[in-house]
Amino acid sequence: MTRYLARRLAFAAFLVFAVSSASLILTRLGEGDYVSGSLGIEARRETAAQARARYGLDKSIGEQYRTWLGRAVRFDFGNSLLYDRPVRDLVPERAANTAILAASALAIATLVGLPLGVVAGSRRGVVSGAIRSTSIVVLSLPPLLTSLVLVFVAARTGWFPIAGIRSAAVAPGGETLDFLHHLILPACALALPLAAVFERLQAQSMGEVIGEPFVLAALARGVTRRRIVWRDALKPALRPVTAIYGLVIGTLLSGSFAVEVTTSWPGLGNLMLDALRARDVYLVAGCAGAGAVFLACGTLVSDVALAMVDPRARE
């Protein structure tokens, strides 16, 4: 298991390194750079040349990459050209916001999707049909559209703040509630499609499990349906969802980008968008690296969980 874990960790490290390196190189390879975007078309050539020299953009891609790599191994990912702050400070503070959003969405999706999946998978009729149909509708909506709909509802009803992470004026002691109030809308936008995925998987799996002989045997012994569903059948039916749980963490990050922009959630998605627009090479590499960390962690958790359940996966 230790060797397996080490192998997976090495792969995760390689993933982060490859993604951030590729991001830096690709951003640099594109036409235009931070200086041409920030100074605009009217800048004099000398002014632009001075700015490029200041930001190190006058170096070749190879030289810039080597310099960046040399510093990155010491966990110095350079300074953001856009915000003139170290990337290693900027990215974690935004990644934390994204992590909170993703974790909340995951929790909501789990709490909503799994029970509904169990119900839909163990019953037939109006309730399971309604759940199934709703899931299919929600599943077909991308998080961007869900967030737009929710933002619209929030604007019409005034139930939730439309944008941001906390209010400008909060009474002392009310910070947490205010934060949660802001969190609900983006978290739901992100969670709804995911809940639908969980519901579909869980329902399918539950449907298969309750057809197993041990369920019939239990029924024959007079065990109640509720007990069978929620105690005996649920555990084996959870396997498919558990298997994709890790991957979901990674995909949540990419899904959260659109939601963050729509709801002005100051997370990694908004930061990445700003960095890409401005051609801030170091910040793009940092954000992409952080995204890769999310994905790597998710994959690692998933792999380890799978390896613990099924030892054949370690080979």
Binding site: Y83, T134, W159
Partner: protein, 626 residues
């Protein structure tokens, strides 16, 4: 949505009925759910193929419930506030402004993006200010000035008793420091180029602590107008950074707010990365209102970062936002109009914009040396034909969704002082355009409806535009469609900003459709556009010498225009420049948008103006009903 609105507007008893019916539905729903949980018909078999019709019915009920809930739960709209015309101005209160992105820096000399400019407008002050409403120069930190007869030297008397927000007195030394920083090559300031006349720096001297003498390299008619965009920075705070070469990164976003001092109406109190900036009144601000009230009126300005335009508009309509920092796009007008009809928002139609989106061709000599299209792509006739082929009214209606006006030259009627009233109105004449194209060899040789050159090569070129700007993309698409009608094939390609600017700078394009904004209405302030040697001479940047006779003529006229101290003569010369410009059409203009801005109904004393920041250009006089 209309139904929802109506429901929200109904009297309270009906709300109660709606709530009761919702509650009743809930009870019924819970009952059904409970029943179905109690037993099923065919346990434990498959459950995926039955009950579909019932599912749809249930879904429908769910949707209806949601709609009802949405309509019933709608926040009570705030009562319509008094309008600016009828309200007395009360000091105090806070204003919430939105920006699309964070500022790049708190140092205006290091960043030129609009949020950074807004921060500078709130926290800093200039020697003189251009009143964006009247376009006149107003005394600001300099309370008066005199110009020498040759127009080369201006002496400014600085306001006395003014202090920075930290209490440090403001003197001429701070002005000297600001210009030193702006011109320092290590800083590579974004303002450095705009503070040059004829490509040379101004000479700044301080004969005494309250006087500044500015010497222009050549006679310069606009004089102090050039100083409008230079915030005066505190030497006592920033000098160490300039001396040790770190000025460009000084006052970055990680700087503690208390370190940022200025002469503006507000001071930065809080910066929440990615979220908002909070500014509070500068108690040492030096301006007072005509009635003696100490300015600014507002206690706080909150600048929220709202990255999505839809969210921004919804917040404005919902009363969670007072002002957006910029013009309202045409496509948002309907949403805001509905809010205005409900009394929650005020709309200001400021008339046609100062600048129109423009189309220009690559006129750099030799740019198409190996390209057979060189024979026609750089010809005046092509551009004149395009000007005739495009129906400007239809263009305005399509691109600006009706909120635009046809434009025929480099200046729009909004620039009242410099607009040439004799600007000829090019008629929409597709047949005339085809005839004109025939004179440069572009005719339909094979009868397929498309024009070709004599060699059989099709009349085809590409227009590059900026990605993510719907208005530009729509405009380029309309040009493409209009030219298709006369047989010219156009490919529209959208690039992101940096790539587009790179293409323009390196002259690697056929044609560009873009909005190149100018910093001032006076043409002498934007010489880089008019002079052939200019860096914003879009169609052929920084020519070593004028490539054409007409460009040489414009250079000559503009040289006289910039130097002349006779305003009538300057106007006459610039009219002539516009005449030549329109005749050769190096840049084509089709329509300009009407500038429409909106504020929440509680904003009073707003003086909206046709500028890049239509409402926030004068933050110290803005007030709110509170």
């Amino acid at each position: 949505m209309i139904a929802a609105k109506k429901l929200a507007d109904v009297p309270r008893p009906l709300h109660r009925i709606a709530r009761l019916s919702k509650f009743a539905c809930k009870i019924a729903w819970y009952g059904r759910v409970a029943r179905f949980f109690k037993g099923s018909d065919s346990w434990p078999e498959g459950q995926l193929l039955t009950g579909h019709l019932r599912d749809l019915w249930t879904l429908g009920r769910l949707a209806a419930l949601l709609c009802l809930a949405s309509a019933c739960g709608r926040a009570t709209p705030p009562p319509p506030a008094r309008t600016s015309s009828s309200s007395a101005i009360h000091a105090g209160g806070e204003l919430v402004v939105s920006v699309r992105t964070e500022p790049r820096s708190f140092n205006r000399l290091a960043a030129r993006d609009s949020p950074s400019d807004l921060v500078a407008t709130l926290t800093q002050a200039r020697l003189v200010r251009i009143n964006k409403k009247t376009q006149d120069v107003e005394p600001w930190l300099a309370e008066r000035w005199t110009a020498s007869e040759d127009g080369r030297r201006v002496t400014l008397s600085l306001r006395q008793g003014v202090t920075f927000s930290d209490g440090h007195p403001f003197t001429a030394d701070d002005v000297l420091f600001t210009f030193e920083a702006a011109y320092d090559s290590r800083v590579a300031s974004v303002l450095a180029d705009s503070l040059q006349v004829g490509g040379r720096k101004l000479e700044i001297a301080a004969p005494d602590p309250h006087t500044i003498a500015i010497t222009f390299p050549t006679p310069f008619a606009p004089g102090v107008r050039l100083l409008d965009n230079v915030p005066i920075l505190p030497r006592h705070k920033l000098e160490p950074a300039l001396r040790n070469g770190t000025f460009a990164s000084a006052w970055g976003l990680s700087t503690p707010p208390s370190e940022i001092v200025g002469l503006g109406p507000f001071v930065l109190a809080e910066y929440q990365p990615g979220q908002r900036l909070v500014f509070v009144r500068n108690p040492r601000y030096w301006r007072t209102a005509p009635d003696g009230t100490k300015l600014p009126y507002l206690d706080r300005v909150i600048v929220d970062v709202v990255s999505d335009q839809n969210a921004e508009l919804l917040r404005l309509a919902a009363g969670q936002l007072d002002v957006t920092n910029g013009e309202m796009p045409s496509e948002s007008y309907a949403t805001v109009k509905r809010a205005a009809d409900g009394g929650r928002v005020k709309i200001f139609d400021l008339g046609v914009a100062m600048e129109a989106d423009s189309l220009w061709f690559n006129l750099k000599p030799g740019a198409f040396a190996t390209d057979p299209r060189a024979r026609w792509l750089q010809r005046d006739e092509l551009r004149r034909a395009i000007s005739m082929a495009v129906d400007r009214q239809a263009f305005a209606d399509t691109v600006f969704l009706g909120a635009g006006e046809p434009v025929y030259g480099p200046e729009t009627p909004a620039n009242q002082k410099w607009y040439w009233t004799g600007t000829p109105k090019t008629p929409h004449d597709p047949a005339g355009a085809k005839a004109l194209l025939a004179t440069i060899g572009l005719t339909d040789h094979d009868g397929d409806g498309l024009l070709e050159y004599a060699t059989g090569a099709p009349a085809r070129f590409s227009i590059l535009t900026q990605k993510g700007r719907p208005r530009l993309e729509r405009g380029a698409a309309v040009v493409r469609d209009e030219l298709k009608k006369i047989g010219v094939t156009v490919d529209v390609v959208a690039f992101d900003g940096a790539a587009l600017f790179d293409r323009i700078g390196s002259a690697k394009y056929d044609a560009i459709y873009f909005r190149a904004s100018r910093t001032d209405t006076d043409p002498a302030i934007t010489p880089d556009f008019w002079f052939s040697s200019g860096t914003a001479h879009l169609w052929n940047i920084a020519e070593p010498k004028p490539a054409t006779d007409w460009e040489a003529r414009i250079d000559e006229l503009m040289t006289r225009q910039v130097a002349s101290l006779d305003e009538a003569e300057r106007k006459r010369l610039f009219d002539e420049v516009q005449r030549i410009f329109i005749e050769h059409a190096p840049v084509l203009y089709f329509a300009a948008p009407r500038v429409i801005v909106a504020t929440s109904s509680r904003v009073v004393n707003a003086t909206p103006a046709v500028t890049l920041s239509p409402l926030m250009w004068s933050p110290d006089t803005l007030a709110v009903v509170h």
